[in-house]
Symmetry: C2
């Protein structure tokens, strides 16, 4: 049974709906008579060590709803990865504040942090119930059909490419957009969702699940440009050559690495610039432009999937219910119960070990045989997640006027 003082924190990269999960946990926990209050740790596990707690039991429901609708971790985040000594400091804090239940909202690394913490708790005999609430725009958590945060980021990327396609159609040339996603191409693949007409871009989609070859890239772009007079390209920041070497790594003098061993790929426009320079140098195409979508993908205010909002909220609520009804640690996981119009999700509490620190990449059935596009199955998978309010692009339908001079 859920009781006493419970704790919630947020880890890793923010998403557009991570505060929905926070609100879900706090509001659901308050319904449990045996729960005294909910503490929120600032900046993830680092806030536990530093005793930086907010008493979320005293947060008004009205303001919590406003925060839930605001993107990016309201409690602040961290990329700290605790070792045994760090865990010991955490337990000191938890003991002092009489906390025995911890909800950690995060992705692969945060779930791994929770796994480490749960194991250390057992090892030192601290009675801690650990529940992981999933979030990541990368959509790369195992076990899950998809993860909260991804649908909203996917909607942003799809909306961006729907607009970019129109821009590139108006002023023709080559456009390369670089999308987040270190190992999994789900977010890059979302660029294809806004296509409506046969010649709509992105015309080429490069995913980290397939090997990237510069020669093939040049040939691909030339082929599309020869056919359409233009070419829109979506590229994952995680593209790599046959040896697994990141294309981005060939550029940076010194790549930053975080505590979880992740190479920092975002926050630089170098990869887009390399790819546009490659096209400029190896083809006669004059107008070549590149953008790196960067942090807008996960933080933009005003582009959110309502389905994502509801699921992120429910993930938090279900985490609390599982903690109350099931006497075990775990990770809340999302499982699809139907497709298309029958789309639905059910929540389970999966073993932490099944999710923690693991990475799911795109299934082969989602990637076209040509390796530079997604399949209709992927579009069917993604469409219900972004909600029904995706904007649609329209074209003029007026007939051509017959030429008189016809020079």
């Amino acid at each position: 049974m859920l009781q006493g003082r419970i704790l919630v924190a947020q880890g890793g990269g923010p998403t557009a709906v991570i505060n929905q999960s926070l609100a879900g946990i706090v509001l659901e926990a308050r319904k449990h008579a045996a729960v005294d209050t909910v503490y929120g740790a600032l900046h993830g596990v680092s806030g536990i060590v530093d005793e930086n707690f907010l008493d979320l039991g005293r947060e008004s429901a009205a303001n919590l709803e406003q925060v839930a609708a605001t993107p990016c971790s309201a409690l602040g985040s961290t990329r700290d990865k605790p070792d045994a000594a760090y865990c010991a400091e955490i337990f000191k804090s938890l003991r002092a504040h009489q906390i025995q239940t911890f909800f950690y909202i995060g992705g692969n690394d945060s779930s791994d942090t929770l796994r480490i913490l749960a194991e250390e708790a057992k090892a030192v005999g601290y009675p801690l119930r650990c529940v992981h609430i999933p979030k990541t725009i990368d959509n790369d958590l195992t076990v899950n059909d998809h993860t909260p945060g991804y649908p909203s980021a996917a909607k942003f990327v799809a909306s961006a490419f729907a607009g970019i396609n129109l821009d590139n159609r108006a002023l023709q040339g080559v456009y390369v957009g670089v999308i987040m996603g270190r190992h999994a191409g789900f977010l890059t693949a979302a660029a294809a969702l806004g296509r409506r007409f046969d010649d709509d871009g992105p015309h080429l989609v490069y995913l980290p699940e397939r090997t990237f070859s510069t020669d093939a890239f040049i040939a691909d772009v030339r082929r599309v440009h020869d056919r359409l007079g233009r070419c829109v390209v979506a590229v994952s920041e995680g593209i790599h050559d046959a040896d697994g070497t990141l294309v981005a790594a060939t550029l940076a003098k010194k790549l930053e690495t975080d505590a979880h061993g992740n190479v920092q790929l975002s926050g630089s426009g170098a990869l887009a610039d390399l790819l546009t320079d490659t096209i400029k140098s190896n083809t006669p195409i004059k107008r070549v432009r590149g953008d790196t979508f960067g942090y807008l993908q996960r933080s933009f205010m005003g582009c959110v999937s309502r389905v994502d909002q509801a699921e992120a909220r429910a993930a938090g609520e279900n985490g609390v219910r599982f903690a109350d009804s099931l006497a075990r640690d775990g990770s809340v996981t999302l499982h699809r119960t139907g497709d298309g119009a029958d789309y639905g999700i059910e929540f389970k509490l999966s073993p932490l070990d099944d999710v923690a620190g693991k990475t799911q990449v795109m299934a082969d059935r989602f990637i076209a045989d040509c390796a530079t596009d997604v399949t209709p199955a992927f579009i069917d998978y993604l469409r219900p997640l972004v909600g029904a309010d995706m904007p649609t692009a329209h074209r003029l339908e007026a007939p051509r006027v017959e030429k008189i001079l016809d020079r």
Copy 2:
């Protein structure tokens, strides 16, 4: 009186509402009994030369409304700048198709194209009525209070920075976002609109109206970071040193220049990377990230100002009315009739020469004395343009828990 076959085209960079002006022209012109039909030239003036016309008189009003709500020039665009020979080809086409009225939707360069065309028409004795309909996300047309296209792009930039501020608050460090705007800082300045709390970013705003100094930049960022533990920076792509040399120009081996003499600054992440490298090399700050907002600013689907939509529509409609009632060439200009709750706009037909090829930059009263921020007067100027539905960021208000261990 407006009569016969009239022509419309779109020039320069697309905007989110440029098709509203197109729809305004077509639907208003159709109300005039003496107007036979409206032709649309594909890809601006180049489509006139090539006789690439659509018969927009046969476009359904329903589809035209859908197109109006779609960003980016539906007719396609061009950056061609005509000379006398080019104009002669245009007149051949216009004569063959019996067109004597031309509406050109565009910015500084397109209005200059129209001025050239109008002068050539007089010189060669071709009876052409030329009306310029304003659009530009840069907001740098003279005479106008502001230009259609700017409010929607400003809303995008403001929404992006409101989110980026939250992201930077969650995972602290320095963030540099580079915004479009070659000479005028209006769009960069819009980054400040989403600020709500005292410590909200952007904390520094670098405009092309002020001289950029790398030493001052480093000192500014250090000062903010020392105070807040983080720093969000908005930078115009057009920042330059005391000699007027573009900071971006110090980077590129070979800058592209278009027919109008504009240096290509967008489509590369080099400036953001230079600025983040500068901070990394000259301060002890570890987490430094940079994004270049690029083409998303003008094409993103799903972020539009309703005020902008209505004004862009009205600009097209008024252009047709002026062409009907006033027997002269000109540029439709927007004039503010009231501020705040009394906000309103009236349209005038100004001489083409007053607008064509000229550039308006931000008034001194819009730029703070420190040179790295905007004034409240600028916020008052911008707020009514973006509409009432700007998303608002909310923070947790729960009280801090008293520390027990207080290590």
